[in-house]
Amino acid sequence: MNLSLILDVLPLLADSMVLTAKLTIASIILGAFIALPLSLMRASLTAFLSFPVLAYTFVFRGTPLLIQLFLVYYGASQMDWIRSSAAWFILREPFWCALIAFSLNHAAYTTEILRGGIRAVPFGDVEAAKALGMSYALRTRRVVLPAAIRLALPAYANEVVLMLKASSLASTITLMELTGTARKIVAQTFSPYEVFISAAVIYLGITLVISYAFAHLERHLAKHQQRNAQTGMFWFAEMIATLRPRLRGSVSR
């Protein structure tokens, strides 16, 4: 084990970290925009609205992300009519293919997480809003979503960390992100141990930032519920909590 090699490859990997960050952040933002309306549909009691979304989340949570990625990247390029259409302009680029697959997959999980939050909003709160004469849109905006997001946040933080790690699959479609670059350096240096430790350290660093941010956000959103300010390393405990594996029984990739 060569400690100086671990440090030497860090700057080489840091360049590719930018691509990993870009992919992760773009997928999360796009995924959130998709998931927000879908989770409301999914939580709806009308089968006509909830069933199509259920089908979508079932498919995307029930198949490996790697296969979804290959279907978008290699599958689309097999069809002549796609290649001659305007969509090819986007599907031609590996970055966009990865973004499409990642954000659709991420949105499927986020939809289910947020739907859980929506269903967990105390019924009394919704009743009260109705009694005050609030319309569906208004009470969703003012009552349901704020409470639902607060409830779903810990699980969502977990999903964001998973998204970061899932972005490593992009290297299979020629995007040289963190993991892909690490593998390339391994092939050149024949030292898998040091190089992968370096890559792992970088992933840990990013995860630390994400967890810290969510721990703070969680505390911020729950301010009105706290009687006494917590002291000490509260954020650390919450951060560690987000690193726990997915709940048993839920579909994981």
């Binding site: 290699y74 097999q78 031609r92 590996p94 020629t174 593998r183 390339k184 092939a187």
Partner: protein, 279 residues
């Protein structure tokens, strides 16, 4: 008891005789993989066929050796040689420093010849594939050809398989002038070449050959000069035991002989449809 001794002694006679003969006509067993066409393959009757086999037969004839071919899985082909299961390896094996630490090689009987391949519909300025660049020779002609190649491919997207000599070449000679996409498998590279995601690919000719013969391969063509030498290594050689100097010398002489009279080139044309043997 005496009868048994006589039988045993009698049975020894042919062995002794054949050993005396071996000085003139040595029996050589050559191993091949049989699963790497067109270099080597196995036909329906179980016989080894391919470029390696035909070169082997020509060499043995020239060296007055009695040879036969055995097939052996690629993994473990080198250890089996060193323990003496056979005497030589002809399996499209390129000469590398790493292998040289364990076994000896004859002089190369084929070059590792890398070619660019582009889609026929591509807008890259045409460049014939009948020229060649030997990277180990630093001639003005070579450098001019390399510059032309670089100018034509500037700004294009080039696919290579990861951890191959092709990748090393593109990085070293083209660097920032092109966009490099690295694939884990040649098949995936071929798919993207047909789909038009990449403008060109670089790989060994024998790899392209099997792709060019497919229906998808009809959409692409070889582009620009043949690249060999330098970081592509000296080529494909016959693997031999380090202690077997006699066989190495006889093979080397025979290889020179079949290369000079054009036999080797003829076999290359027959199996590859191209000359992969002349410098």
């Amino acid at each position: 008891m005496r009868r048994y001794i006589i039988v045993i002694l009698l049975s020894l006679i042919p062995t002794v005789a054949s050993q005396a003969n071996a000085q003139q006509e040595r029996h050589v067993r050559i191993a091949t993989e049989g699963a790497f066409p067109p270099w080597n393959a196995v036909d329906n009757s179980g016989q080894a066929i391919g470029f390696d086999i035909d070169v082997g037969k020509a060499v043995c004839e020239r060296a007055r050796l009695k040879c036969d071919f055995v097939t052996q899985a690629w993994d473990g082909i080198i250890p089996a040689l060193t323990v003496g299961k056979f005497d030589a390896i002809m399996a499209g094996m390129s000469i590398t420093e790493k292998r040289r630490q364990v076994i000896a090689f004859s002089r190369p009987y084929a070059l590792t010849s890398n070619y660019f391949v582009v889609a026929r519909s591509s807008d890259i300025a045409p460049l014939g594939s009948d020229t060649k660049i030997d990277l180990s020779a630093n001639s003005e002609e070579n450098n001019a050809l390399l510059r032309t190649l670089k100018t034509h491919l500037r700004g294009k997207v080039i696919g290579v398989q990861g951890s191959t000599n092709a990748e090393a070449f593109v990085h070293e000679y083209f660097g920032e002038a092109v966009e490099i996409r690295i694939y884990d498998k040649q098949d995936n590279l071929n798919l993207d070449l047909v789909a038009g995601r990449i403008d060109a690919g670089l790989a060994d000719f024998s790899v392209w050959k099997s792709f060019l013969d497919t229906a998808d391969g009809a959409a692409v063509e070889l582009y620009g000069p043949r690249l060999s030498g330098g970081l592509f290594g000296p080529g494909i050689g016959i693997g031999l035991r380090k202690t077997d100097d006699e066989l190495a010398a006889r093979f080397d002489d025979a290889l020179v002989s079949i290369s000079l009279d054009g036999t080797l080139r003829q076999i290359s044309l027959q199996w590859f449809g191209a000359d992969l043997v002349s410098q």
